[in-house]
Subunit: 364 residues, 2 copies
């Protein structure tokens, strides 16, 4: 533990609510919470950073971390702990000299967050405040936070640049990301020591080229691409497309799908940017390209050679028709842009899905 | 403790942050935090409700509660406790059968909230979640929450009705009120047992006609009318008016000043409304009338017979030029409207200020 630790990468933590009535939530084998985090750890190590990972005891995501160790050939210190447990956080900060915390932690699944607002507010907002407080105690004032394009709600114009107002989120998940952004901004305004980059992810897809790590959501996927690839691999019967009568090229919703490895490299670029001192800055991490739902399904058909049957259902209430990024600020300031194209994203996703038809789990 | 308790009125609580590094915050003798609360207790008792008060140990607001007991001739159960202390909350709910919680608690002072965001988020948001959780444990699903017209930020149209979007708050205080509103709305959406009324106060002014209770802010007042009356009584030298070149009748900012006793009666009306079952409803509590800064200063001059000298300074960044309510929904749904006029408000304010030149404190 004597080596200098340059970046702490926080994954999948803050899921137990200690001292509350909520039961521990089990994450499915490093599932969707570890998705961007694990890919970022790989890119950080490739860029020469030393990484410490924190995770919670309640989940089994060490499977995905073992895969990361295999890809990188490094064995990184891993803390099994809860973000709400300040003493455990203090222990981490005592043992390691941290340059920057990358905060990927929080509960995510949309349906569950709507049903359990207490749990989500306490874990995601309470956990973030707890983390920021301990960082401050140890004089660690650098953070990169995983925000989301959902903070923009229904965009007032397209493509979405960083000047777009962040308000009017149409769902609970977006609201919590928005609240955390505002809390962090307020703290940065009051306490000038902080340097924070808020990264608004558009729609991360794909998997590491090794096929060893990828997105592995708990239960039925909420996101399009894991759903589509689970249809292609035969785990799910068909895709349901909600609404095909929107004012878009094929009538279905439009999103900006970004390759998860590009997104991970965006974190490395943000870390380099932040090391120079930046106060609080926001960047939209997307490709600037937009694809409809059926185009995405067809791309997986092409990559996999498997059919992806789909049926059309009615529109979802509060669904956003189109959302894609103006990614030019990130290119200008961070020197970063998304490189990989849709076909390659889908190939890598298929490589992951077909190598791991049941995700990190060995169950059939 | 055997009598049926029909309403719990919560004042000035949640100021100690137990288990954190923040020092206890002392409230100045029941100061501004107890202002709307104490007046509401008086009106609830006059309307026949039984009231339990909770407050935190760290402040001296028992002075104002003694005055309330004197006005009403009732001695009400008072719990000295912290809203973040769930065990103490449980103790209250075990001892009393609560019909509805009126939640006035939270840190308020604007300048301090900008400087101490951790403290404010933990106390106001953390405290509210803690309170809601304990209410749920005890099957108490009725709440009236003290929100604020600041949730509207810079209004997109005037007067402000309940359809006005709540977003783009221009300050930290408004942001926290907005977050709490959203948290409560999410909880009401997820858990249908809840009945909550969110009352958006416009600018409460004046004091109880007895002259025994009134607004007594800590330090230099942030709000106009306590400032003006402290100038009239000789505690402060002169009023500073920020901006006299706005597009308003006299060039100064315009607000909707509501008599605090009218506002308190609005809570009683909301309680009666809520007893019938309402899910989550929002009401703007204002008069619908608008006054400029200098008009307000002149009204105190008239009421007091004392001069209120003022000087003009530059505009404040992010200040809202005009904000006043469309109060028709409250009249229609709650059967409530503000009655008292400006001259009488100022007379009662002056009665309080001249009887209590140093507020509840006996210091000179």
């Amino acid at each position: 533990m004597n080596k200098r630790v340059k970046a702490a990468c926080e994954l999948c933590c803050a899921v137990n609510n200690k001292g509350t009535d909520f039961p521990p939530v089990r994450l499915h084998n490093g599932g969707e919470y570890g998705y961007v985090g694990t890919h970022t750890v790989v890119e950080l190590i490739e860029a020469g950073y030393i990484v410490v990972v924190m995770d919670n005891l309640a989940n089994a995501s060490m499977d995905s971390m073992r895969q990361v160790n295999e890809i990188t050939g490094k064995q990184m210190p891993t803390f099994s702990m809860d973000m709400l447990d300040k003493d455990a956080l203090r222990d981490l900060f005592k043992k390691h000299k941290i340059l920057c915390v990358m905060h990927f932690a929080g509960l995510k699944t949309l349906g569950v967050s709507c049903n359990k607002p207490f749990l989500y507010y306490k874990t995601n907002i309470g956990g973030t405040i707890s983390l920021l407080e301990v960082m401050k105690e140890f004089g660690v004032y650098n953070m990169i936070f995983s925000s989301s394009a959902t903070v923009f709600g229904s965009p007032s114009y397209l493509p979405i640049d960083e000047k777009q107002p962040v308000e009017g989120c149409t769902n609970h998940y977006g609201n919590i990301k928005y609240f955390i952004e505002e809390i962090i901004k307020d703290i940065c305004t009051a306490e000038k020591q902080w340097n924070v980059v808020l990264l608004r992810y558009f729609n991360p897809v794909g998997a590491h080229v090794s096929g060893k790590i990828g997105e592995d959501p708990q239960g039925v996927p909420n996101n399009l691409m894991p759903y589509v690839s689970q249809v292609a691999v035969g785990r799910l019967k068909e895709l349901t497309v909600y609404g095909d009568d929107y004012d878009t090229p094929d009538g279905t919703g439009v999103r900006d799908y970004i390759y998860v490895v590009d997104l991970a490299q965006g974190h490395v670029a943000a870390l380099k940017y932040l090391e120079k001192g930046c106060d609080c800055k926001m960047f939209n991490l997307g490709t600037g390209k937009s694809y409809c739902v059926i185009e995405m399904a067809k791309s997986i058909e092409t990559a996999s050679g498997k059919p992806v049957p789909y049926k059309i259902a009615g529109r979802c209430a509060d669904d956003i028709v189109s959302r894609y990024a103006d990614a030019s600020l990130a290119e200008k300031e961070l020197g970063w842009k998304a490189n990989l194209d849709l076909a390659k994203m889908c190939e890598d996703l298929w490589c992951w899905q077909s190598n791991n038809p049941t995700g990190f789990s060995t169950e059939s």
